[in-house]
Amino acid sequence: MNNITFRLAWRNLWRRKRRTWLTVGAMVFSNIILVFLISMQLGMYSMMIENTLRAQTGNLQIQASGYKDELKMRQVVPDVIALAEEIRSGLGSDEVAARASAFALVSSAERSYGLQISGVEPDYEARVSSIPGLVSEGRFLDDPAAEEIVIGSVLARNLRAGVGDELTLIGSGRDGSFAAAVVTVVGIFESGMPDMDRSFAEVPLGFFQDAFYMDGAGHSVVIMAPSLIQIGAMKTQVEALLPGGEDLVVHDWDTLLPGLKQAIQADFVSAWFMYGILIVLVAFSVLNTQLMSVLERTKEFGITMSLGVTPGRLGRLVLLESGLMGTLGMVLGMVLGGALVLWLGHTGFTYPGLEEMAGKFNLPSRIYPQFSAVGLLMGPVIVMLASLTASIYPALRLHWLEPVAAMRAAE
């Protein structure tokens, strides 16, 4: 029974080859564009998130409440190293590191710049941040209490300082008193992110705590989750591990960097405006084709109905025809779009102006679209659904068909 409907639908499609191919062509065209653009966006977003979070922010941070917005020296996490150790054993993960941060005037023999200095745990920082791996000259910090500093490449150039040179730090300690120290540059990192390279410096946490009178305290514990999806669950876990009595909070990355998520949302929404237009245009194309194909078969439908076929079954036939066209468009679109994504995912591509734009979002200047099930399916499935929706009206028309009048209709 179903087999006959299916065979009829398939044959009906090829009664008008050109029309069917043109309709399928519209779907394939839109599907290729959707598969390509969505894969590219997903690839860019995950890179933006990965690069930005890997640089400094991490996935989760434990901070004193209020520190996120005010960044005050006195809003501390007490006994930060011990707390980090506790979180490590509680989570069974090494991707946890304690940090502290202070504003200081950094002076070389020739120049001075005011910037934010971070105190980090040399043994664990590399597990939560990409900076240790980006040291291009010298080495990263290794001793938790050494008077050493690692600075960005632009900062090094601006300070006219190189590996082995001494820098003076002047700032204020946790209690507001004057703090000063002399450190040796042991490494220079090059992240390719202009802001980081210009205004970021790291010293060992133990030394930091001494120099800025931190009394064992720090400002944050940074935690990386194995994947973005697990962050929610991990946050609950970390919250349970927090010591009672302290005014500590756990922030996830989109609270720490609301701009990043919103930039992605803004881009995604505006892109969907364009996708929506493409999908609507395909739907019009299907509506047109199916309505015409129903109208020109008025006489034929009249005969089959007078032979006892119900309008409902004919309606299903029309929907099945659209479904077949949609499937054809979906499969071809996914194969061709997927091939394009695979190829460009391998070679990468760029366009004029991308480099300047990419730098702003911590992206490399070549884009590699990401081959993923979501990117491959999302667009084509929606096009398919839109095509089916568009053929509801032509299918419903059959219910109003009068068999006798229909049989008299002109061919």
Binding site: R16, R18, R19, L22, T23, G25, A26, F29, S30, I33, E70, L71, M73, F103, L105, A109, R111, S112, Y113, G114, L115, R157, N158, G171, S172, S199, P258, G259, L260, K261, Q262, A263, Q265, A266, D267, V269, S270, F273, M274, I277, L278, L281, V282, F284, S285, L287, N288, T289, L291, M292, L295, Y351, P352, G353, E355, E356, M357, G359, K360, F361
Partner: protein, 409 residues
């Protein structure tokens, strides 16, 4: 002429023989054209706004610096104030406004906290015509003269430093001999900016006061020059460059801020790509409609050929139908786009993703910008590509063999 009238009338009547099909196709064209113009206006608006904001921060369309200043923006790399030939060039009519500034990295401290900022010494009278800061004072007043002893800071910075209007702050910077120069200032004004990073990062003081603090005589860091149109800075740039000589570096805004420059350059390409993609999605339906229209009329076309109409007449007949359909769609689409953009002229609030927009350098209110050239481009692309898309079905129709066509069942 008369013949064209007949062709047009025939085309019009043919279109409405199957009004459902024509209406569906028309709806598709209207949606397509509307989206082309609407979306383009939104994107243009966003980029215009970004650039206008960017230029008011730079500020100016052309800037003059010491050749090493951009790489090493310190007090060591300063230039003399404009004089002689350059001063003459600056008084020419194509220069709308200009000012000099001294701009150095500095550290600002209140009793509570310390931050790194960019300290800018300005000529308040001239600065007013170029940059955003004078217009956006929310508390207190703007600086009154180049020797004003006060300082103007951003609202965010005031919060971070836990200070306020009338309070004192200490500014530390470096003089050309690498000695720390510091001095207390009273906060006389607080400014706000659409972009939080400016509120946090910039402080303004009198140019004379800063020159005195740093002991640099009348040297300045930059000359900022505003022309009449940021899209066309080549003329201004050329004349300033010639007048300024080789000792200094003269740059237009799109080279100073490469991100802004590339955004503007990319927009034109992006608009064309967007319009063409939408058109291509549309063209499948258009060709399909024509193929169906021709197919239904095979016998009729055969008859017309048999009666002596030339294949060329048939070709033009079909193409005219297609173009007529496109023109109607374009008219409605244009009207619809303008009608939807007009009420949005006062801005669309997108503050829900405000911090994301800020990351892109845009503000959280979008003002659509409708340009005649974009409307013209959308219409011209649709008509020209539509014409070519309809050639194939029309060509097939004109090549029918009359006898076979007439006898076709």
């Amino acid at each position: 002429m008369n013949q064209f009238k007949i062709v047009l009338r025939l085309a019009w009547r043919n279109l409405w023989r199957n009004h459902r099909r024509t209406l569906i196709m028309l709806a598709a064209i209207v949606v397509g054209v509307w989206s082309m113009i609407f979306m383009t206006a939104l994107m243009r608006g966003m980029v215009d706004d970004m650039i206008a904001d960017g230029i008011s921060v730079l500020p100016g369309h052309v800037q003059i610096h010491h050749p090493d200043y951009r790489d090493d923006p310190t007090i060591s790399n300063v230039i003399d104030p404009p004089a002689g030939e350059l001063l003459d060039a600056l008084s020419r009519p194509e220069v709308v406004a200009w000012t000099t500034r001294i701009r150095v990295p500095a550290v600002i401290s209140s009793e509570r906290d310390t931050r790194g900022v960019t300290l800018i010494g300005i000529e308040p009278g001239r600065e007013r015509d170029l940059s955003f800061v004078a217009d956006d004072i929310v508390e207190g007043e703007f600086l009154s003269s180049r020797d004003d002893r006060g300082i103007v800071v951003g609202r965010k910075l005031v919060e971070k430093l836990e200070t306020g209007l009338g309070k004192r702050v200490v500014i530390m910077s470096q003089d050309p001999d690498n000695e720390i120069a510091d001095r207390g200032f009273r906060i006389v004004g607080v400014f706000s900016s659409k972009l939080a990073q400016y509120e946090e990062g910039f402080v303004f003081a009198g140019e004379g006061t800063i020159q005195e603090l740093l002991g640099v005589g009348d040297s300045i860091s930059e000359v900022a020059i505003l022309g009449s149109d940021y899209r066309d800075v080549e003329g201004l740039y050329g004349s300033i460059k010639t007048a300024a000589g080789d000792e200094v570096e003269v740059l237009p805004w799109n080279e100073i801020d490469a991100y802004l420059g590339s955004m503007l350059a990319m927009m034109d390409g992006f608009v064309i790509v967007f319009i063409v993609v939408v058109f291509l999605a549309l063209s499948f339906g258009l060709v399909n409609t024509l193929v169906m229209a021709v197919f239904e009329r095979v016998r009729e076309i055969g008859l017309m050929l048999a009666l002596g109409m030339t294949p060329r007449n048939i070709l033009w007949q079909i193409v005219t139908e297609s173009v007529l359909l496109l023109v109607i769609g374009l008219v409605i689409g244009n009207v619809a786009a303008i009608a939807t953009i007009e009420p949005l002229k006062d801005g669309i609030d997108v503050s829900i993703v405000g911090e994301g927009m800020e990351m892109m350098g845009a503000s959280s209110v979008l003002y659509p910008a409708l340009y005649l050239k974009d409307i013209v481009m959308a219409n011209v692309i649709v008509i020209i590509l539509g014409f070519f898309a309809s050639l194939s079905p029309a060509w097939r129709a004109s090549r029918y063999d009359p006898i076979r066509a007439i006898t076709k069942v």
